[in-house]
């Protein structure tokens, strides 16, 4: 019963918030209409979400987002320095293979998105069995160090959140 009326509770909350932000005011009317949308849209689109991963720890997800935002800030400065002050000759662009421990598609998507958003690395492709990620690093002397940092810093946390 609950699963039919509320197939995707997090999406309901998200849609209500997005609606309030779109209207750009927080009044009773907007919140109620946002909630109506948030209730209807997941029911209509439920067929497109066959296996939803349960997000077991929303608080961990929040702290993960904060860590990523901080890393974006720090690494952006580092990449700006590389772009401005390092000559192309001395740059070591490198491909890095990151073997994955994550299995759920949502978690892998989050990891690939995080890798692209944090400066210095762009995720390029996934292996055909979904067990490894191909990452391009802008300036990496040692591809193994980049791989270990991605695994330590992001993948471990995503595994705690999704699996």
């Amino acid at each position: 019963m609950r699963a039919r009326l509320l197939p995707h509770p997090l999406l309901t909350v998200l849609l209500a918030i997005v609606w309030c932000l779109l209207v750009n005011e927080i009044k009773l009317g907007t919140v109620v209409f946002g909630l109506i949308l948030g209730l209807l849209i997941p029911i209509i689109t439920a067929a497109y979400w066959p296996d939803r991963p349960p997000v077991g720890r929303p608080i961990k997800l929040l702290s993960y987002l904060l860590i990523v935002l901080w890393d974006i800030l720090v690494a952006n400065v580092a990449v700006a320095m590389i772009v401005l002050f390092k000559s192309n000759k001395n740059m070591r662009p490198n491909w890095v293979v990151v073997p994955l421990d994550l299995c759920t598609p949502e978690a892998i998507t989050m990891l690939a998105g995080t890798i692209t958003l944090t400066p210095g690395t762009v995720s390029a492709d996934l292996s055909d069995d979904g067990k490894a990620l191909l990452v391009h690093a802008l300036d990496a002397e040692d591809p193994d160090a980049v791989r270990d940092e991605i695994k330590q810093r992001y993948e471990r946390r995503l595994k705690e959140i999704f699996e």
Binding site: M91, L117, P119, V122
Partner: protein, 122 residues
């Protein structure tokens, strides 16, 4: 009509600083696009400019809205959509590059005799 002097010195400083920071990082992104010498490295510059550069500009816009009118939260949405879409467009450009590199340069293969999804036949 609100003139800038109504803002108060503190919000004025914050807004100006955010604008300068944002503009700086967008500029660095464009310089990177010009300066870097291979297609994959060039991809790094624009995907980065959207994160901190546009992020700081949007923060400036939000601060201005809260300092002058009753505030605006649209910028949070802009940022969320940018953060969700930037990796996807970056990924597509990277895949196009991988097709161009096919057969010319060896990429490190994935473990256990598999191939990268872009190169697989199925």
């Amino acid at each position: 009509m609100i003139s800038l002097s109504d803002l108060g010195i503190i919000s004025e400083i914050i807004i100006s600083a955010l604008l300068v920071i944002g503009a700086f990082f967008v500029l660095v992104g464009s310089i990177g696009l010009l300066k870097l010498d291979n297609a994959m490295s060039r991809l790094h510059a624009p995907t980065k400019a959207t994160t901190l550069g546009v992020g700081a500009l949007l923060m400036a816009s939000m601060t201005y809205a809260f300092a002058t009118r009753d505030g605006s939260m649209h910028e949070i949405l802009v940022m969320a959509f940018l953060f969700a879409t930037a990796p996807i467009s970056g990924n597509f450009i990277a895949k196009a590059n991988m097709h161009r590199l096919r057969g010319k340069k060896d990429l490190p293969p994935p473990p256990d005799d598999h191939v990268w999804g872009t190169y697989s036949d199925t």
